[in-house]
């Protein structure tokens, strides 16, 4: 019986094997393929998911996004963690 994945700064998130981020050529958009689900991530979710490589920690992901969008780290840290927790609760991300 698995426990809930709790996302913190030190967590190293990745997509589980059965969740696939894929470019949909027909609809010209990125999609997340999961059991009986097709989700279309918004731009921010997509930026975050592409950094979930099983190597970078949440803290590192926040650093990278802060640098990329020239935004203070504190402004996005909570949002990133919340979004990853939400995805983890839906089974779309593991850590």
């Amino acid at each position: 019986m698995s426990a809930r994945v709790e996302i913190g700064g030190a967590s190293v998130p990745r997509l589980p094997q059965h969740v696939k981020l894929r470019y949909d050529e027909t609809r010209k958009q990125w999609v997340i393929l999961a059991p009986e689900r097709v989700l279309v991530p918004d731009e921010i979710a997509l930026e975050i998911l592409r950094l979930c490589d099983g190597v970078a920690s949440v803290s590192t992901i926040v650093d990278m996004l802060a640098a990329k969008f020239a935004t203070p780290r504190a402004e996005i840290a909570c949002d990133v963690q919340e979004m990853l927790q939400d995805l983890a609760d839906k089974g779309m991300v593991v850590a």
Binding site: S2, E6, H18, T26, R27, L33, P35, E36, V38, G91
Partner: protein, 378 residues
């Protein structure tokens, strides 16, 4: 009118053969025999057509899809096309070697059905002695092979009071997802409706259990809940709308907007062996018939929910009124809605009649009488 968008998913019903005999089977009453099934090459061609037109997911289903010896070939083919592959199975034909070979073929996910939480109920409802224990073993084997698992539980008046136990089973199996699907009344389930329809009180208790479990198990188990809409105020958005997101291919290659569509009398469904899949999707009369909102009667036509529930379910409208083009009686705005509620209340309060099991060549002659004969004219 512009061409419709591509479907997201295909339900590939590889066969109608199945060791189980569930009395609510979603297959049609007239089941396809093995000799009428598409061969391996035909399925491979259809999968390639589906991927090329923009389909993202394929659900291998049946009958029991593992009854097809070429399932691994088809899974490998679909995975190679970039399709997300899901196996919808009863599990009773699976063993460790078969599960390993399916995983090696690139299978992404397994959905395993249970008929009850208890051995006696599971074997009785599925009509297959020893099935329940076999399924429990298979659930563990699927997880041991590293495949993600959804447990599917079709619920009705004869097992709904075991819902708490079914949720515990899903946790014990380490399933990531549990699908609690109330029986939808078409085909075999319609024949057995009086034996299966829950009381409103039973339904409300079950819904409360799901709501509580979802909160308690957040992050551990995703619970999808398909409600029975006889007691609803508004109909379900069946298939996300006729011919909008989904298509179904029968064992013989007929292309349907949903698995129950053949229950609607007088419709012609085209076959993948006779016309390209994309053309059937875009232009066949069956797909055009109830696509979008132009076909809608009043009050659907001007309803603010017309592009939310897409007029509900055409098969249900036909099953209950004899007219597939009328308002889904599940909708509170349907003139047939009160008759439907009265029927649900009456059938669920009476003692359940014996189950009529799903068997090839054993199609009941007379489905239940349409609602219209209870009151409103069709």
């Amino acid at each position: 009118m512009s061409a419709p968008g591509a479907p997201l998913a295909v339900l590939a019903e590889l066969t109608h053969r199945c060791p189980l005999q569930c009395p609510y089977c979603s297959n049609p009453l007239e089941l396809e025999r093995a000799a009428g099934e598409l061969d391996t090459a035909s399925w491979q061609a259809v999968l390639a057509e589906a991927a090329a037109m923009g389909v993202l997911q394929v659900h291998f289903s049946g009958g029991e899809p593992t009854a097809r010896k070429d399932l691994e070939i088809l899974v490998r083919h679909a995975a190679g096309l970039g399709l997300y592959t899901n196996l919808i199975t009863s599990g009773v034909l699976l063993d460790p070697a078969r599960i390993a070979s399916l995983a090696a073929a690139g299978l992404d996910h397994v959905q395993l059905s249970f008929q009850d939480s208890r051995v006696d109920g599971g074997d009785r409802i599925g009509g297959y002695a020893g099935g329940h224990e076999k399924k429990i073993a298979v659930a563990r084997l699927v997880r041991a092979a590293g495949l993600p698992l959804t447990m599917n539980a079709v619920v009705h008046r004869q097992n709904l009071d075991h819902l708490g136990e079914l949720i515990e089973m899903a946790l014990a199996f380490d399933a990531g997802r549990l699908e609690v699907a109330h029986v939808q009344y078409y085909g075999w389930a319609l024949v057995n409706r009086a034996a299966l329809i829950p009381t409103r009180e039973q339904l409300e208790r079950a819904t409360a259990i799901v709501v509580e479990a979802r909160e308690r198990l957040k992050g551990r188990l995703v619970i999808d809940y398909v409600v029975p809409d006889y007691y609803a105020k508004r109909p379900k958005s069946c298939m996300g709308g006729w011919g909008r997101q989904f298509l179904n291919i029968t064992p013989a290659g007929k292309v349907l907007p949903c698995h129950a569509a053949e229950s609607i009398a007088g419709m012609h469904f085209e076959n993948v062996t006779e016309r390209p899949l994309k053309e059937i999707w875009q232009r066949s009369s069956a797909f055009e018939r109830f696509r979008g909102t132009a076909w809608m009667p009043n009050p659907c036509r001007t309803c603010e929910r017309r592009e939310i529930d897409w007029g509900g379910c055409r098969c249900q409208a036909f099953a209950l009124t004899g007219n597939a083009g009328t308002v889904d009686p599940a909708c509170g705005l349907s003139p047939d809605h009160e008759a439907l509620l009265a029927l649900a209340n009456a059938e669920s309060a009476a003692p359940p009649p014996p189950l009529r099991y799903r068997r090839i060549g054993d199609a009941p002659k007379m489905p239940p009488e349409p609602l219209s004969r209870l009151g409103e004219p069709a």
